[in-house]
């Protein structure tokens, strides 16, 4: 039902088939070492493990909510690894794999979903913006940021900066996203719009939202659009890298549609069996991003079972660390809520901060 006719006839950039065969593409090819391939696989496994553990923690009452990325690992790890340190990412609330590639500790994400942080992290530290819950609004933030670095003169050569904005197929129907397209085209902003088309905007299939493949919308706004196999980590990496390089060298925006599938629920509050057929899920399981990479490693004889086992062991260790860290997470310092409201602290807020501090210190035992 979700595999619409256009899905089978539309050109799709693919470098790794579901069976693990390596393909080559005239425009988007990559030259990777054996270590690179192993490292891509490792990231896919670790990111999935983080997601599985966080889902379990929510079911055990330790997180208020979790948005699973199950099935979208390749789109996120591929695009995340294409980012250079100077590039800035604007995520939705599901970009756990991109956060991982940007060096954001998974516990930082969990603190948000556990209600144990005042809303996020320092976006500048890893050049990874706060999770945005409002659908699509981060594309406008990203466009504004991209226009800003353009004015700063940080764009124009191969070492320039670039911006990537993540969003989903559902968000592509939002006004914000379409405004972001208009503005970034008009100003030739150094931005990559990375749409993970996971086929479902909660319970609404993509087919009811668009008459044409999403990547084709870019043409109407006046910039290139390309559809990549979002379950193929190599192709996702290659296409995103090319789009980022175009942005950083001053060639303006690109829309990348990563064609993938949300194998889990929209969030832990959702039950996908109420609106989609299990046969769809079964069909997409055959295109699993981890399985095809593992097949490739085996076929190329660059990753044997001892390597696979060692990655699994690392994943278990990571999961145990996340669980422990989550359960032991302290409540945030009440005074920290004043820290990041304004770039420069205002007099009034400083007064309120002192007032609260004094008040809290009035209890036996001191502190808060």
């Amino acid at each position: 039902m979700t595999v619409t006719p256009e899905a089978t006839t539309t050109p799709l950039v693919q470098l790794l088939t579901p069976e693990g065969e390596r393909l080559h593409h005239p425009d988007y090819d990559v030259d990777l070492t054996d270590d690179d391939y192993r490292s891509f696989y490792r990231d896919l496994v670790l990111v999935r493990r983080i997601d599985v553990e966080a889902t379990a923690l929510q079911r055990q009452g330790e997180l208020g909510l979790w948005a699973s990325l199950l099935g979208q690992e390749a789109a996120q790890v591929g695009s995340g690894r294409a980012l250079r340190p100077q590039d800035f990412a604007f995520p939705t609330y599901r970009e756990h794999g991109v956060a991982w590639c940007k060096g954001v500790d998974p516990l930082t994400l969990l603190a948000l979903f556990r209600g144990a942080s005042n809303g996020g992290w320092d976006p500048q530290e890893k050049r990874f913006n706060l999770y945005t819950i409002v659908i699509g609004s981060q594309t406008l933030h990203a466009t504004g940021y991209a226009m800003g670095i353009q004015k700063d003169g940080a764009v124009g050569d191969s070492d320039g900066e670039a911006v990537i904005a993540y969003f989903g197929d559902g968000a592509s129907s939002q006004g914000d996203v379409n405004e972001a397209f208009v503005w970034s085209a008009a100003y030739n902003a150094p931005i990559v719009f990375f749409c993970q088309n996971n086929q479902w905007g909660i319970s609404t299939p993509t087919s009811t939202q668009s008459r044409i493949p999403l990547y084709k919308r870019a043409e109407g706004f006046g910039f290139p659009g390309v559809r990549v196999d979002g379950n193929d980590v190599l192709a996702s990496y290659a296409v995103t890298r090319a789009a980022l390089d175009a942005a950083r060298t001053g060639q303006g925006p690109t829309l990348v549609e990563a064609f993938t599938y949300r194998m889990g629920a929209h969030t832990t509050s959702d039950d996908p069996t109420r609106y989609r057929l299990s046969s769809d899920l079964e069909a997409w399981k055959l295109k699993d991003p981890l399985e095809r990479m593992r097949s490739f490693l085996f076929k190329q004889q660059i990753g044997d079972s001892s390597f696979i086992d060692s990655v699994d062991a690392d994943a278990d260790e990571l999961a145990a660390r996340i669980r422990k860290g989550c359960l032991e997470m302290p409540d945030p310092d009440p005074l920290s809520m004043f820290d990041d409201v304004y770039a420069d602290q205002t007099v009034l807020l400083e007064e309120q901060r002192e007032e609260l501090g004094t008040y809290l210190a009035g209890f036996a035992g001191g502190g808060h």
């Binding site: 209600g115 832990t268 007032e355 004094t358 036996a364 035992g365």
Partner: protein
């Protein structure tokens, strides 16, 4: 720390207050690993598997399948160190009652309507110092939590008396409990702070004293079954259909002897070796052929439009352990007879095992209900909402019948068709029903219409 660990039902969605235990996946004495699925819980939002938060041995299941449990109630207890000797030496852990909204649960977290709140911080309990530091702008001292409750209750009571209307003070979950137990809240004296009626008040009022049982005690000869799940859905669907679509039901009695003979013939064909051939299969096929000749019967009346479907998702009403379900065979009109037989068999097996998913029941276009399996001749079925017609297939009985000018014993059945008279006129409904009957009376018609 005690090696006995309790697990309370978490808020599995956002802002849920209760969940129904569908099925335990473990039993007392089972050894479980961390994150092993232990229970299936259905909430207003989803049916989910809950993974175990501990590794150890299950020592107690606090609720049975079918129980509706408040978020925050203990549902299972684990022995997290089963190798450390017998359990009876271990003191019972403090009893953790299900936290009501706003109350602090055993885990130190406050149950709220949205997820859970932070742990009730020590700031609420700690005493102020004798010499509080001078404050810039005197803030009101925080009253202890219980004091806040008393004053809130007192305010509520005062307001109630002033208004002279509401005189009963009880929290919503307690009101719900009272309603469920048929306890009149106005007859109770609240023992909670500020005269609030507590859960215990309702519970003690709800359990009759032993000597009160007599032959005249009301309720002992009646059973009260909560309306929920499939029953609730069925009731809503029936009411919505019966009171929006003007139903007309027509009947036809038909000699299906040739069809019953055909069933036997088909059974012996190698193509049908792996599938069940039944009279229902041929009724389904007859209906699909009749839809092809009368496509407007396969439609939805929306009020502004009549949406005629060029595909048939054929619904089959099925009695299942969960109640009446109407799963449908997608694109049934595209299937060969063998494929249709397999799809029917699959649908029935899935339904009987209780594995029918909601998606299987959506987007049906026309339905068959097979009351003949209960030995009943016919009925006046109610249309499945969103469809325009439903065919009722009665029992097939040996009956004296005029056949080729003579009285003969023939296999005869009754068919009934209910249709939505807003968009299906009598002529269309009659022709559709007569077409089905014609195929069953003479299966050779199939070839003529294929």
């Amino acid at each position: 720390m005690s090696r006995l660990r309790e697990f309370t039902l978490p808020d599995l969605g956002e802002g849920l207050t209760e969940g129904e235990i569908l099925q335990w996946l473990v039993s007392v004495g089972d050894e479980v690993t961390l994150n092993q699925p232990i229970v299936e819980v259905e909430t207003a939002k989803a049916a989910v598997e809950v993974p175990s938060p501990y590794a150890g041995v299950v020592t107690q299941l606090h609720h049975q399948a079918g129980d509706v449990v408040d978020v925050g109630s203990v549902i299972i207890t684990f022995d997290t160190d089963p190798g450390a000797g017998p359990l009876d030496l271990i003191p019972e852990p403090p009893k953790a009652e299900g936290a009501l909204i706003g109350e602090v649960g055993a885990n130190g977290r406050t149950a709220t309507l949205v997820g859970y709140g932070p742990k009730s911080g020590p700031a609420k309990r700690r005493a102020r110092t004798d010499n509080p530091a001078p404050v810039v702008a005197e803030p009101p001292p925080p009253p202890p939590a219980t004091a806040a409750r008393v004053s809130a209750a007192a305010v509520g009571q005062a307001a109630a008396q002033t208004m002279g209307a509401v005189t009963v003070l009880a929290k919503p979950p307690v009101r719900k409990l009272a309603k469920e137990r048929g306890v009149d809240l106005t007859s109770l004296h609240g023992t909670g702070t500020g005269g609030v009626i507590t859960r215990e008040d309702v519970e003690s009022a709800g359990s009759p004293a032993p000597q009160a049982v007599s032959a005249l005690t009301p309720g002992t000869r009646e059973r009260r079954i909560p309306v929920k799940g499939v029953r609730k859905m069925t009731a809503q669907a029936m009411v919505s259909s019966a009171f929006t679509a003007p139903h007309v039901t027509e009947f036809i009695t038909v000699d299906v002897t040739p069809t019953m003979e055909l069933v036997q013939r088909l059974k012996s064909l190698p193509e049908f070796a792996d599938v069940k051939v039944t009279s229902l299969l041929l009724v389904a096929k007859a209906l699909l052929l009749a839809v092809k000749r009368n496509p407007e019967i396969n439609s939805t009346f929306t009020g502004d439009e009549i949406v005629v479907k060029d595909y048939v998702h054929l619904g089959i009403a099925a009695a299942t352990p969960r109640g009446l379900l109407v799963p449908n065979i997608k694109d049934a009109d595209q299937l060969t007879l063998v494929e249709l037989a397999a799809a029917l068999q699959d649908l029935v097996t899935t339904a009987r095992e209780g594995r029918t998913s909601p998606a299987d029941m959506q987007h049906g276009t026309i339905t068959i209900t097979n009351v003949g399996t209960f030995g009943v001749d016919t009925g006046t079925p109610i249309i499945n909402p969103g469809e325009s017609a439903i065919l009722c297939f009665g029992a097939v009985r040996p009956t004296p019948w005029v056949h080729e000018g003579e009285i003969a014993i023939r296999q005869v059945t009754q068919l009934a068709l209910s249709f939505d008279h807003r968009n299906v006129d009598g002529a269309l409904g009659s022709k559709f029903l007569a077409d089905i009957a014609r195929v069953l009376a003479d299966p050779a018609t199939t070839l003529a219409w294929s």
